[in-house]
Amino acid sequence: MLEIKNLHASAGEKPILRGISLTVNAGEVHAVMGPNGSGKSTLAQVLAGHPAYEVTAGEVWYEGENLLELDPEERAQKGLFMAFQYPVEIPGVSNAYLLRSAYNEIRKSRGEDEVDPIDFLEIMEQKLQLVHMSDDMLQRSVNTGFSGGEKKRNEILQMAVLDPKLAILDETDSGLDIDALRIVAEGVNTMRRPDNATIVVTHYQRLLNYIVPDYVHVLANGRIVKSGGKELALELEARGYEGIGAPAARGNGEPGTGNRAVGQ
């Protein structure tokens, strides 16, 4: 489904990804872990097409297409979804409107008919239950005034509605209490199918107790330094990143973990 070959990317002059290669097949869950500044959030954002990053070398193939040649909206229309580490507040546009527009844009791109607001509301009702959200959330402006947990659940709600082939969760667990974490994990697990795949980017092993990965990759300084099965996460938990030879990036202020200032 996804094949990343020797991917290099930089933010401005600064190289962040320095040769990532990774293959994700349908039905798989991959965890990408790493210390701050290792480039794991950059990887997620480059896959989604964030304009702040420039791909300087390498290839990314998604469902047989050159992903890097597609605009962010085309990637989404073809079934790629990234849950943001910092979901963006959009005052004045309701959650329902954003979701319905996105849903219909994706349907249109597949040559399917748009869904009217009433039918869409029905679809929403089921998805809301999945993430334990009430329907008054739909009328609120996107993420505006949401708590941290609500924002993350809203990302999972969007994911549930858009039903992606490839979902990338960018540190969705960061800042969540255990109840919110369970809700998010439950949502992701419910959507897991043989025909889709998930990349879970996380700093902590904790999330992987709830979303059990098939593969774990450890990033350091923009490269994958170790890959393994789910037991690698436990090893990390026990020994720390340094313990398995993945030191934090040199120098402070690296924009690796989805630095919000980038691209604003």
């Binding site: 097409g49 909206e73 004045g92 546009v93 309701s94 996105a102 844009e105 691209g263």
Partner: protein, 443 residues
């Protein structure tokens, strides 16, 4: 441009106007004569004048459209449909090319405590309320356009809300210009008196049924007596080739609240002045506005809030969306007099530039002479938030729709402050259609 442009050019018109107006009450003659003298002495402002630094009125001066007072227009009731918010039950007084149009107005079932009538009738009857208030709040001594309006004042609307009456239905004053307005000038004059502890909403619309080039020079005077609460919306949707200068001057007594909203999308060149004086303790003013420009449009808003008494508050939020090669100007003045302690003032002005060629000049101006006050102001000028745009695109929404939705959302924040549902929804719809071509119901 030179000082004193064109002031004398109106002498012939004024003499003819004065001859035709013989028999009017002497107090009105005095206002017209003094105002005309003042107009001649002041002349039209140039960009050397600080208050007109960013707005050149040369196109108005050069066009030299003569003032008209005779009726003449061809507007059918159906032509008004786009401008009446689908509300046929609202008291509506209509003027065509500056002249009262009784057949288009609906003033039969005015709510108790409300009087709405045309200024021309008030002049003929030497109406004592008009005599008492006309020219008391909008001074012509320092303002050329107010002087010009006062010199040629002949028609407009009078709205009076009796003490302690609360009026649910908005009162709509609708100034329509049609093709027959071409190359003429109108000087509509409005007086709104909200007596003590009354509550009402007045909408003042300036609209066009065609694309003629004409000049509207409007003046509105507003008095809020003790405890009055007046919501006053000015909606400027003039013809794209029109010139519009509109001045609103309000005086507020103790504990009154004036809520003003200025919505401006029309005219080639427009200037809106909204001035209020907080002249009683505990009074408050909320001045909000939205202007959306395109092409070569030039739109200037000047607001002035004078805190003349202690313990008053003012809130101000103006937003502009500028596309094409348009030019927006916003200048917000707040004066705090030496005795106006405990003043609480907040002013915000935000502009969204949609094009490289659009331009804005914005200037908050605080002059504070009291020492125990809280006044803040802030201005931002920016482009569409790229982070938010990326967020929407990453959900499958195309670039153009993302940009349009964000533009709409920017404008919607200030439109949300309009309390009358039908007006808010109508203006939101107009805004949304302009930017997205989609229905507003579910955004």
């Amino acid at each position: 441009m030179t000082e004193g442009l064109g002031g004398s050019g109106y002498t012939t018109e004024y003499q003819a106007f004065a001859r035709a107006g013989r028999g009017t009450p002497s107090w009105l003659d005095t206002i017209r004569q003094c105002a005309f003298q003042r107009f001649q002495a002041l002349g039209f402002p140039t960009t050397k004048n600080e208050d007109w630094h960013f707005t050149s009125v040369a196109p108005i001066v050069e066009a030299a459209y003569p003032p008209r007072t005779a009726p003449g227009g061809d507007v059918k009731p159906a032509d008004l449909a786009p401008f009446t918010f689908g509300a046929s039950d609202w008291p509506t007084i209509v003027f065509v090319n500056g002249v009262f149009a009784p057949a288009l107005s609906s003033l039969e079932s005015l709510p108790e405590g409300v009087k709405v009538y045309d200024m021309a009738s008030a002049f003929r009857a030497s109406d004592s309320v008009v005599e008492r208030h006309l020219s008391k709040f909008a001074a012509y001594e320092l303002n050329t356009f107010t002087a010009l309006n006062s010199a040629f004042v002949s028609d407009g609307a009078v709205v009076r809300i009796a003490k302690e009456f609360e009026v649910d239905r908005p009162i709509h004053i609708l100034f329509v210009s049609d093709a027959l307005a071409a190359k003429t000038q109108s000087n509509p004059r409005t007086l709104i008196v909200a007596e003590r502890h009354s509550k009402a909403t007045v909408i003042e619309s300036y609209v066009a049924t065609g694309e003629a080039s004409y000049f509207t020079n409007a003046v509105t005077e507003v008095l809020l007596e003790d405890g009055a609460n007046l919501s006053h919306l000015k909606i400027q949707r003039e013809s794209p080739r029109a010139f519009h200068v509109g001045t609103i001057e309000a005086e507020q007594k103790r504990d009154s609240h004036y809520q003003s909203f200025s919505f401006a999308t029309g005219a080639a060149l427009s200037r809106t002045n909204i001035f209020t004086t907080l002249d009683g303790e505990g009074a408050g003013a909320t001045l909000n506005g939205l202007y959306m420009l395109d092409g070569e449009q030039h739109c200037d808003h000047q607001t002035k809030i004078e805190h003349a008494q202690p313990n008053c508050f003012s809130r101000e939020l103006y937003k502009g969306v500028l596309d094409g090669a348009s030019h927006g100007v916003f200048n917000g003045k707040v004066y705090v007099d030496p005795i106006a302690q405990k003043t609480d003032g907040k002013q915000t002005n935000k502009v969204l530039l949609l094009s490289e060629r659009a331009q804005v000049d914005t200037k908050p101006q605080l002059e504070i002479f009291a020492d125990d006050v809280k006044c803040t102001h802030g201005a931002t000028v920016g482009r569409v938030d790229e982070t938010a745009a990326f967020y929407m695109k990453s959900r499958g929404i195309n670039k153009e729709l993302a940009r349009r939705l964000l533009t709409y959302a920017f404008a919607a924040e200030v439109l949300e402050t309009i309390e009358i549902d039908r007006v808010r929804q109508d203006l939101e719809q107009a805004t949304l259609q302009r930017f997205t071509g989609i229905e507003v119901t579910s955004v």
